[in-house]
Point group: C2
Amino acid sequence: MATRNLNSHRSIQDNLLKRIHSGEWQPGSLIPTEAALADEFGCARTTVNRALRQLASEGLVIRKRHSGTRVALTPIRKATLEIPIIRHDVEMRGHTYNHMILKSEALQPPLWVQVRTGLKHHDKMLYLQTLHLSDNRPYMVEDRWVNLNAVPQIEAAPLHEISPNEWLVRKVPYSRGEISFSASLADEEIAGILETKLSAAIFVIERSTWMGDTSITTLKMYYPENYRLTTVL
Amino acid sequence: MATRNLNSHRSIQDNLLKRIHSGEWQPGSLIPTEAALADEFGCARTTVNRALRQLASEGLVIRKRHSGTRVALTPIRKATLEIPIIRHDVEMRGHTYNHMILKSEALQPPLWVQVRTGLKHHDKMLYLQTLHLSDNRPYMVEDRWVNLNAVPQIEAAPLHEISPNEWLVRKVPYSRGEISFSASLADEEIAGILETKLSAAIFVIERSTWMGDTSITTLKMYYPENYRLTTVL
DNA sequence: TTGACATATATGTACGCACATAACAATATT
DNA sequence: AATATTGTTATGTGCGTACATATATGTCAA
């Protein structure tokens, strides 16, 4: 049939999207059932189902059994942030990447790490401070704590060749994570490493990951003021 | 059949995920074909297809026609950030929300707005400065520019009752957006409004939205140092 | 050797059907 | 009147089949 490809789930999705965006279907209102839409488009219900499922996963419609499908009250758009390997970040900007391990010692975790990871003060953790460089200029400082009970192999890893960030992302799986963003002022240590003024604005990303219930690693990343994290909606 | 529900796309997905996380399937390696997996699980290929499609949409596997499916080299985990109505943000923390329009005037856009929106200096824009309050204490300042050619109705909106943020999110659809995060220092104006010290750390979110090619609105949000934006992976 | 062509293969998509499941509605039962 | 029971409805899921499409590989001829 010639009309086959007109009925692809993709074009149906576009069509439905248009009605939502144009205001034909107001936020909160019920839209026709899958069967009705399938009838209208002259396609199988499974095809409409797929289109609607996709729209639901993007948060544009809310689906409930029996009740039907309605346009989301707040068309919550989601921004997706990828968790990158820093080296890729730098190289994608066309710069050359390097890193330096500034500190590496097995320590007892300070309080904020204990709180975040759920580990106790007597648990063995590896503290790593890494400077990431872009074209040999400071790009970001990373303060990382690794749970040695969960990741003992890291003590044998060649962290001078492959950064802790990349090594962990590649080698150690995790099932759950948390990330948060904030702003703070540079203290003496950070200002010294990043070569900024004391009390310069610092963009901070904190991230913790777990595998099941056991903490893998938790870290703070400090970016100088000129850094911008950008993403599309 | 009793084994029917064992073959749901969800459990298949979990099963595949386990193999990726356990390292049984290394990053970059080819995994069995849909047909082979369908055979192994004793289900239809369409079911395996759905499981793999979902994993691909989450960035865990890369699929190519003919070549097959392989585990992503960087099992890129994505964090999803919702674009909230500020009022909900505040109320979810159990505080009461208020807002105040500090400035509201039709102006020619400054250069940074022109760059971001693609509009020219002679285009009519509405400049709105809004203070968002949590329990009557400053929570965030919003500097917003609205394209009056695209959204003329905003001049008649009751912005003292419903904040520009909420009004726009509810009433004006957009098809494309960009969001970025950074840190900066409080200037006199921002420090005054947020009641922080001069040169305090400020967390900045910038957001622009378009409908097709026409800019809708662009804004900067200034949060005081104690603010943290948190999300799960 | 090179390029044009055919072929095999793995994923992509659509269909029609069947049954599962949640939620609401109407009815029957205590 | 309060509680079970049953039915209806819209979405959720799975199956088997068919065909589409991109791409790697092999084949043959210029």
